[in-house]
Point group: C2
Chain length 168, copies 2
Amino acid sequence: MADVVPKPHTPAQGVAAQTQDDLTPMALALHAASEAAARGEVPVGAVVTDAAGAILAIAGNRTEADCDASAHAELLALRAAAAARGSPRLENCDLWVTLEPCPMCATAAALFRVRRVLFGAYDPKGGGVEHGPRIFAATLNLQRPEVVGGLREREAAALLRDFFGKRR
Amino acid sequence: MADVVPKPHTPAQGVAAQTQDDLTPMALALHAASEAAARGEVPVGAVVTDAAGAILAIAGNRTEADCDASAHAELLALRAAAAARGSPRLENCDLWVTLEPCPMCATAAALFRVRRVLFGAYDPKGGGVEHGPRIFAATLNLQRPEVVGGLREREAAALLRDFFGKRR
């Protein structure tokens, strides 16, 4: 349960003005997760911000919609942010995601050279940052981002619990 | 150095008829790696075949061309193969790649549920199958593909050595 003061940020284009709190990166990631659930996708959302806190990309899971098992929110957001910047690297950018990234997405965050990975719920079964292969500790030649876990953890976990509860 | 009898296969569409040996999946992956090098990309190539050995997708690295640090040959080939099949899963398919997959691509292979991962050169620094986080051994809830390493290893390694040699 991290106690992090959010960095200053700029609202995403096209996001309806709501309260200031609804426009923090993690709030936007939670919103993208809810939208994914509404589409029948596992509710995980991700946001990439630049060094000044401006939103570069927002994405939710799209594995079913895109016929792509790798279409995790994080990978989609990282790819979109890099396209927006016109560079395959995202130095000084932060990845905000509602769930601890899996090993694929954790490695991708390092390959894109993001500065920080900030996530919501911990994932003991599928996570690859604090669980399983612990990518940033295990991999020799990757630049390791700073990690913050537990941001709005209860909301992020509740979205996943509701989603999988309904499926049983 | 594995001793594997290649499965029967169907030549990829658009590939000029050459000798039978030039159309094995690993030969096609090596060719895609050479083409990547010619574009200034790290020379790694990948092919996905279905259960009958037919080619579903061929890709080379495109991280620079696509402004996408995740555009590794394996991820591109897996995604293209899934799109071709119209399913986010690639059960009974095989991933052939000239270099030991990194942790991102190894995890992606498991997420796509490929049957086998067959690679060329070993990668002690960046690999995630036999080195580093050893994804298939470390991750609890992923389906583990069968792994074959060392197929046409010398050719695959020579491509990488030549590429990085020229850059120095």
